[in-house]
Symmetry: C2
Subunit: 390 residues, 2 copies
């Protein structure tokens, strides 16, 4: 649920070496091709109209195609229009601290929660992140889990409508239903979807039903089949793909999905922001001087010299600073203007970097205050209302 | 943890079609060959001497070679001799009601608990039994779990020293440590040990670390590496084989094991007693007339007619009635006499059947009373002291 964006709808950036799995996002991503490969649907103008009918507007993340793909979104929005109760479900793999790329789908999820008055399950897959890396200890993951919970709460979810599930802590709620799911997925199916091999540990092979479980949990909580919408980055789609098959066989709704792109890495033209590479992203806990330095060192789409920039203009579409500003801080009109000024040579990288540093520091300063306050209300958000301590 | 016995130490009954896995025991079992195949050790006279030093006697199930094989039993008995604290761990897969074959290792486990003053973890793998069968529902498994718990308590374990773990109910205690185990087992290892294939469901592939977890749980409970001895039927050995490798890598003791044979099926010369085939075994809930009928219909090693029996004698080693009486009810001297009388033609099958029916009905009548009483004290035995209700 984080970042690597290339404006690849225009087809310029197709690259066969791109690789998108739940554990790995590599190379330049052609989102149009991902829609074809994953068999999802692009978000159509009809869907934007549905949103507008419900919310009275089209959220910028939809307008800007940051959320660009879906499964059954039209059908679940019809349910919302018919005032049917739906659940939202999203998650976080606590492999490190949270950066701005992680926040985007959460901010959109909070927006949907407010507009739809929906309950939200927020799953933290601490088990997955432990199983995936040979080096990480459970203690490290636990610390990241705690820190990530503060970020989640900082986004402002409604505590009455939000339950955070930490897999190892709340496994008793997930495990029974995960068995029902696991029983219906063969190794050959899982291998085809996730690319498991002989050297994959059996924890990873057994894990997908745990991530699938919150898709069905709302039906158990409500005592009747209950529709679920998952806002998340596109790399998580394989989990829901297998869940959708199983859910239907079990008599539940297939979980609907709305897929986001990734925020690009700050330090290179391609590549995803990464929790484990601090230089690639601005983290919610970065000190102002760290943010300044990261933005100052950021890769841009600018030319090698001011003179060349004035002459040829910059490559905004290749510029992470541009995309950060566009997705996060600029409104669309300002961003369109920034784009035109950049490509026509009327804007220097220093100006954009200065905007990004200022906006990011201000945003993070606010978030940090909320993170502090969050420490006192973790319990309210936890699935069992049991405090989470480290 | 149940029954198929052929007195195969003498090498007469070797049969290549025998198959022993945790989920399937088929064909006539050559226990000597199993020791070679599984790479376990036979129980030596030195070990019997160790037992005698500790308990002041040699339990009939050891003397009669019902427990016939082990891993590291000598080393864990030395710890017991040195008054080191050890845990016992055994389990039950609740795929049906409990029969007399299941009870034997439990009775021996209770004996060890009393003699060693050991804590016992008793795991009920309701998850495994659900995952293994396409037909079984979680509700059915839950009912069997409840009934099986009554049987376990009826054996007379010390409630202060015994904790029953029902996997789906107590998963939060098993799951974190199972992740540590799972991370250290590759699919290729699990495939080699358990014979997983492309059509195996991913729940089964992910399950072994859950059965391994109680081997390490005592070390977590005690806060230091704690030795564990597992009395169980030999078919469960693959689980502990992989656990032993992992435990050592994690800095824990390898779990020691003592392996039992199976009680033979009542209705055929080969084959294991089975929860799902009522005719093959005497169940703890059978009514007296049912027991009478099963014993009356039992296969025996007798000749076709009384005259032939008198002439040639019976084949006691092939006779489930003989083995039931020998393992369960006769003392060794009486059993040896029964053997000689049978093979010399001085005993008719009707007499043995009459003994078995009488003894079984009396045994079950007592057990049924204990099962009734057990209903009121389930909570005392459960891991969290949380009641188990259906």
């Amino acid at each position: 649920m984080n970042g690597n964006d290339e404006n690849s709808e225009n087809g310029k950036e197709k690259n066969d070496s791109a690789r998108v799995t739940p554990w790995e996002v590599q190379g330049r991503i052609d989102y149009g091709r991902l829609i074809e490969e994953f068999g999802t649907q692009p978000i159509s103008s009809e869907i934007l109209e549905q949103f507008e009918r419900i919310t009275g507007e089209v959220h910028p993340m939809l307008n800007l195609h940051y959320f660009f793909s879906h499964r059954d979104l039209d059908s679940i929005l019809r349910k919302v229009e018919n005032r049917e109760k739906i659940y939202l479900y999203t998650g976080r793999g606590p492999s490190g601290m949270v950066h701005m790329g992680h926040l985007m789908p959460w901010i959109f999820t909070k927006y949907l929660q407010d507009k739809f008055d929906s309950k939200l399950l927020f799953q933290i897959t601490d088990d997955e992140k432990f199983l995936y890396s040979q080096d990480r200890t459970r203690e490290e993951i636990k610390r990241f889990t705690y820190e990530n919970i503060l970020d989640i709460i900082s986004v402002g979810f409604d505590s009455n409508n939000t339950k955070i599930i930490v897999d190892t802590k709340h496994i008793k709620h997930l495990y029974p239903i995960s068995l029902e799911i696991a029983k219906r997925i063969t190794f050959s199916t899982a291998k085809a979807v996730f690319g498991f091999s002989a050297s994959t540990n059996i924890g990873m092979i057994g894990f997908p039903p745990i991530q699938a479980a919150p898709c069905l949990l709302p039906s158990l909580i409500e005592g009747k089949p209950t529709p679920v919408l998952i806002p998340a980055a596109i790399d998580q789609d394989p989990y829901w793909r297998i869940t959708r098959d199983v859910a239907e066989k079990m008599g539940f709704y297939k979980p609907a999905q709305i897929h986001s792109k990734f925020l690009p890495s700050l330090d290179a033209p391609g590549g995803k922001m990464s929790s484990s590479k601090p230089g690639t992203a601005i983290f919610t806990t970065d000190e102002p001087e760290v943010t300044d330095k990261k933005v100052s060192n950021a890769f841009t789409g600018g030319q090698a010299t001011v003179a060349l920039q004035r002459l040829y203009g910059g490559n905004a579409l290749e510029c992470p600073v541009f995309w950060y500003l566009r997705y996060f801080f600029d409104d669309q009109k300002d961003s369109d203007e920034r784009f035109v000024k950049c490509i026509s040579g009327n804007l220097l990288c220093g100006e954009c970097k200065s905007d990004l540093a200022r906006e990011s520091k201000s945003f993070i300063a606010t978030l940090k205050k909320r993170r502090e306050k969050a420490k006192d209300c973790i319990q309210k958000y936890m699935y069992d209302n049991v405090p989470f301590e480290i």
